[in-house]
């Protein structure tokens, strides 16, 4: 076996040593400068973190500098933070246009920091956890939601965030979470004081092919004030009403018209009316006003035999003041489905049919278009008891196993 030994001159060794010192010093100075650039609450968080600098570019963003302050112990999670940040910027950029700042700072805060999920102009806070699961998307969701706020809320560094901007951010975040984490996030909980995560793999939160339509039910990471939730739901309803391409174009134009934030629902409506050549004033007035209630429901439904036919009577009612063109389904025992749309402003409609088979169920808004509906419990009426669906029966069997385990665990203590 042969060994080769490189013999360096003393001068070369000195040069390499000095070069190493310069590299370390430059990195340290850069980190120091990066910390000084940050807002006071963030700079205190970064004391024990290391800096990683990346560049991001896309068709809409020329070159954004990404500065990640990551925990040394974050291991592969640091990589995931970088990847999710890039995907979020790409997705949100594709939808809404360029990122408002030349630089984005991502701070991996301590696990119990109250700033986790917060956003500041050009900076967001996340927190990788010591014990983590790739299937648990909670850290990613908080990060995506914070980045979405950069596009809508944190554009105006001096102005107070407005409810409409917050609602826009929530709406954008809900869409982006579904798009970025599609097929990668599952229902998960943290046990034992919030330290031990566990994900249920049979319960995907954003199943593949679900599309980024926003969800009927919000993610925990998106919870905000009532006004913002209302705005977000109104925008989701609007998306289902006029379609995503139309709303997206409107939002891009809205961002361009209000680069510093501070727009209003009326401004968005004007843009959408101009672009689409329609009048959305009725919807906007009701949807973005907190005290206008949207509530459509089934008031009464009956089916009675009449000779060899069935007399079907159904009454649908609009319980609130908000108007929206809702669809309804009448299902019959022979599989027939009558699908109609209720467009007029009447407070109720009465339907009468002579049908070949009895009515089995009535449902208002079966496609979940009106997410502002205040009470969905009155949207459905079953006339014949139907057997529980197979997934529910299986869920019931799982619940019974859970109860047996609870009984055993409890009785073991006494």
């Amino acid at each position: 076996m042969y060994y080769t030994r490189t013999v360096w001159s003393r001068r070369a060794q000195c040069l390499v040593f000095v070069a190493c010192l310069m590299v370390i010093a430059t990195g340290w100075m850069g980190t120091l400068q990066a910390r000084q650039d940050m807002a006071p609450p963030l700079s205190t968080l970064t004391a024990a973190l290391y800096l990683r600098v990346e560049r991001f570019s896309s068709p809409v963003d020329a070159a954004i500098e990404l500065r990640f302050f990551l925990k040394p112990s974050s291991n592969g999670q640091g990589e995931r933070v970088v990847e999710v940040t890039r995907q979020s910027l790409r997705t949100l950029g594709d939808w809404f246009g360029p990122f408002p700042y030349p630089r984005l700072i991502v701070v991996d805060a301590p696990w119990n920091s109250t700033l986790v999920g917060a956003s500041f102009p050009g900076a967001v806070v996340t927190s990788t956890r010591w014990l983590s699961l790739s299937r648990d998307g909670s850290v990613d969701r908080a990060l995506i939601a914070a980045i979405a706020r950069e596009y809508w809320v944190d554009r105006a560094s001096s102005a107070d965030p407005r409810a409409f901007d917050e609602g826009l951010a929530q709406y954008a975040a809900a869409r982006a979470i579904d798009a970025v984490l599609q097929g990668r996030q599952y229902w998960a909980r943290r046990y034992f004081g919030g330290f031990v995560p566990y994900a249920v793999r049979s319960l995907p939160l954003s199943p593949p092919r679900s599309g980024a339509q926003g969800r009927r039910v919000s993610f925990d990471e998106l919870r905000a004030s009532g006004d913002a939730v209302r705005t977000s739901l109104a925008l989701q309803t609007l998306e289902r009403y006029i379609g995503w391409p139309a709303l997206q174009q409107g939002l891009v134009a809205y961002r361009a018209r209000f680069p510093g934030g501070g727009g209003s629902p009326e401004a968005l409506q004007t843009i959408l009316d101009e672009q689409g050549g329609r009048d959305l004033s009725t919807f906007f007035k009701a949807a973005f006003t907190e005290d206008t209630i949207f509530d459509y429901g089934v008031e009464q439904a009956s089916t009675m035999p009449l000779a060899d036919k069935h007399k079907v009577t159904v009454a649908l009612r609009r319980y609130g003041g908000g108007l929206f063109p809702v669809s309804y389904d009448l299902r019959f025992a022979d599989g027939t489905i009558i699908h109609e749309v209720w467009r007029d402003a009447m407070p109720s409609i009465a339907l009468e049919y002579t049908a070949a088979s009895p009515l089995t169920s009535v449902q208002v808004d079966p496609d979940y278009a009106l997410l502002l509906d205040a009470d969905r419990a009155n949207n459905f009426r079953a006339l014949t008891p139907s057997p529980l669906a197979n997934p529910i029966v299986r869920g019931l069997a799982s619940w019974m196993v859970w109860l047996q385990d609870l009984l055993l665990t409890s009785s073991a203590l006494s």
Binding site: R376, L388, P391, S398, L407, S414
Partner: protein, 311 residues
């Protein structure tokens, strides 16, 4: 070594009593089934108000449907959450016991029913292991009903003592003391280590009460003592005198539980969607059967140890 011998003996005795395992499985299922029927009725009523077609056409329950259902659910239906699926179920129960998580008040009814059922079962189980032979149906019924009232009182006394611990020591330990040691600057791994330490500290009185109840039941059967207080006194004296051996036996039983629990977790995590659905339910039920067998091993080995050390 005495504790290990008692544990092995307990294992052997349970292995020779498959009918006893079957009986405990039937009783446990019988206690849980009525509540499942009640929940089934509540689900049916909820589905009459909420559309069954919204998201249940797929093979699994949709997470959105589940969230929506939970937002309107009350009573038993409020406990119908995704945490009942697979390995999340035992994890949820164990975590709730360790963290003292408040459960819906309606669960007192099934838990009380479970305690009563075990008060009946312990009479049969301990007599069977004491005699080291099978019991006829009349003998089993006699053993069950003879000890039932006393075992109920012992369980109630233990439950009251545990409740007292959860109302006093638990909030102190996991509230003020935990917040003091695991401050904002403590790394997450360090905070978790503190939590584990506090679980161990809190576990000592919890296990002591649980063991006292177990040996009090054993003393009732073995010594034929008439009074409950006398049995509890005998159990306390026994644990005080032989605490190392009793603790070692408890650790053997706990280690078995940990192995079974880990096995369930590994199957659930590694199997993914292959162990979901009805397969997951069957695996969960098999886990319950294993836990019941371990419970019997615990009773049989405690009885064996008590008989050997009583002098």
């Amino acid at each position: 070594m005495l504790s290990f011998k008692a544990w092995i003996d307990g294992l052997r005795q349970v292995a020779r009593a498959p009918l006893l395992i079957l009986l405990t499985v039937i009783v446990t299922v019988a206690v849980a089934a009525p509540f499942a029927l009640v929940l089934g009725g509540e689900l049916r009523a909820a589905l009459a108000d909420q559309s069954a077609s919204i998201s249940l056409g797929s093979s699994e329950i949709d997470a959105d449907w589940w969230n929506e259902f939970r937002s309107h659910a009350g009573g038993l239906a409020a406990t119908f959450t995704p945490t009942v699926i697979g390995f999340a179920a035992p994890l949820d129960n164990l975590s709730a016991i360790a963290d003292g998580t408040r459960r819906p008040a309606v669960l007192i009814v099934p838990i009380a029913a479970g305690v009563l059922a075990w008060a009946l079962l312990w009479g049969i189980v301990l007599h069977r292991f004491d005699r080291r032979g099978g019991l006829s149906i009349s003998e089993a019924a006699s053993a069950a009903f003879t000890h039932f009232p006393r075992f109920v009182v012992i369980s109630a006394a233990a439950a009251a003592a545990q409740l007292l611990l959860y109302l006093t020591i638990h909030p102190l330990l996991f509230g003020a003391v935990y917040r003091t040691v695991a401050s904002d600057v403590t790394p997450e791994s360090g905070a978790f280590a503190y939590r584990l330490l506090f679980y161990a500290i809190f576990g000592i009185p919890v296990v002591a009460i649980s063991l006292t109840a177990e040996y009090a039941r054993v003393a009732q059967v073995v010594t034929q003592e008439s009074g409950i207080a006398a049995s509890i006194g005998t159990a306390l004296r026994f644990i005080r005198r032989h605490w190392r051996t009793a603790a070692a036996l408890y650790l053997f039983n706990t280690a078995t539980f940990a192995i079974v629990m880990t096995g369930h977790g590994v199957i659930d995590s590694m199997g993914g969607t292959r162990v979901a659905g009805w397969r997951g339910v069957l695996i969960g039920q098999a886990f319950i059967v294993a836990r019941l067998a371990m419970r019997l091993v615990s009773g049989a080995s405690s009885l064996e140890l008590f008989k050997k050390l009583r002098g």
